[in-house]
Symmetry: C2
Subunit: 226 residues, 2 copies
DNA sequence: ATAACATACTTGATGCATCTTTTTTGACGT
DNA sequence: ACGTCAAAAAAGATGCATCAAGTATGTTAT
């Protein structure tokens, strides 16, 4: 008997959740932005119920917080919290890169190079949104190549929390954010786990600097969720 | 101006979510168990709305899955998925132990020793439930000592997925599950990060063996969520 | 003009009715 | 006995009304 992946229920709440996740990861929200269930319901053309459901999931992801009982806002990020996220990413994405280096096929390599190529084009065009998306696509491709779905889910949550902050810093970082991706691909080609891990760690640490510089100033409410 | 942690809204949905989380982590559900919103609403004495909210959050945590659009079940765990979770725990809990070893105070050490003492008593009494709880308490105490709240949240989600499986295996593992905790405390006393990390990794890998043996047989539906 | 209070509005939480789809069940025919 | 099909019951999804609590507004008295 074959294995089936449980198929996606395309519930309204999932549609809304996905749309809000995309918006967060693309930096289309600022930390501290207020979300109103009824307003979103009107924008999405649904009742409030699916919006509440999506908001609840996002709050569970700690991507948005309830500042007070009736005040839903995009989560802030304290410097300490960002440093912790970065430290976790170093371990988790390092692990993903190691594993990917061991199992990557030539098709996997080609896919990564394609992402890099498009990313170069996006940077050349000054398309900041697309650049952000492609940078994320590169990072998410590694655990996918490695066959680590749990890790992918964890990373997605971390990016959800970083989303409102990276967009600001992406411009400042500029082309440097993609430079460190090339050594990763080279390491994967050579099936060199240690080099792949070190390369992605470099990318995380150096690419994160401009984010860290910005964060000190922002921080509206950088705490728990419901 | 002082820092306030955003206070807990004790919503009904949070109460239900907390209760279901506890039940899952204590192994009071079996993988594949079916959850019915209306039944739970009756048990909790609420309407279906807060139950739906809690279920949605649990589904977001991938602790329960929607096998089909109207069939909510406690998530299964494939062997591969469990191995991945274990590999992630090794890195994350290793990191937590390292950090904890650097910053642990004598009060922290005493708290850990108190947990171990109570855990010994629980084992002596054959109190399997309390033993499971105290084992988890030990593991969660390390990132707490280390001051890593994001990591704690990630671990909590992983334990949520393991919960329905560890209870079965805990008996089989028996006292071995706690033996490896002592070297951790010793390493923290010596402020020896490398030793602390190695000790907790040993605990994860060896303690996980009985779980792994059981898992091969179970696996009703070990996939995605909504 | 300002401060204090009352009123109206905003907004998330909760409960509930209804809808659609799925699952069960049982009768019927082979 | 077994398989098929249809009717009924079950169950989650969606929408919506209401509630309580917080916020804004406007009026009045000093």
């Amino acid at each position: 008997m074959a294995e089936f992946t449980t198929l996606e229920h395309e519930n309204l709440n999932s549609v809304v959740y996905g749309a809000l996740c995309d918006a967060l990861m693309q930096g289309r929200f600022q930390p501290g932005d207020r979300l109103k269930i009824r307003d979103l319901a009107e924008q999405f053309g649904t009742s409030v119920t699916p919006i509440r459901d999506a908001i609840l999931r996002l709050a569970n992801d700690e991507a948005i917080t309830f500042r007070s009982p009736r005040d839903i806002r995009v989560a802030g990020l304290s410097e300490n919290r960002y440093r912790e996220i970065r430290a976790i990413r170093v371990r988790l994405e390092g692990f993903a890169a190691e594993t990917a280096a061991q199992v990557a096929t030539s098709a996997d390599i080609q896919a990564l190079e394609q992402i890099l190529k498009e990313n170069e084009a996006a940077i050349a065009d000054g398309d900041r949104l697309r650049g952000t998306q492609l940078n994320q696509a590169f990072h998410f491709r590694l655990p996918q190549i490695a066959g680590l779905p749990v890790l992918t889910t964890i990373l997605r949550r971390l990016w959800l929390q970083m989303g409102p902050h990276i967009s600001d810093a992406y411009l400042a970082g500029g082309r440097a954010m993609i430079d460190h991706h090339y050594p990763v691909v080279e390491a994967l080609k050579r099936h060199d786990p240690a080099a792949a891990s070190m390369a992605i760690v470099d990318d995380i640490l150096l690419g994160g600097k401009p984010i860290l510089e910005r964060i000190g100033a922002v921080v509206p409410g950088a705490e728990r969720s419901a």
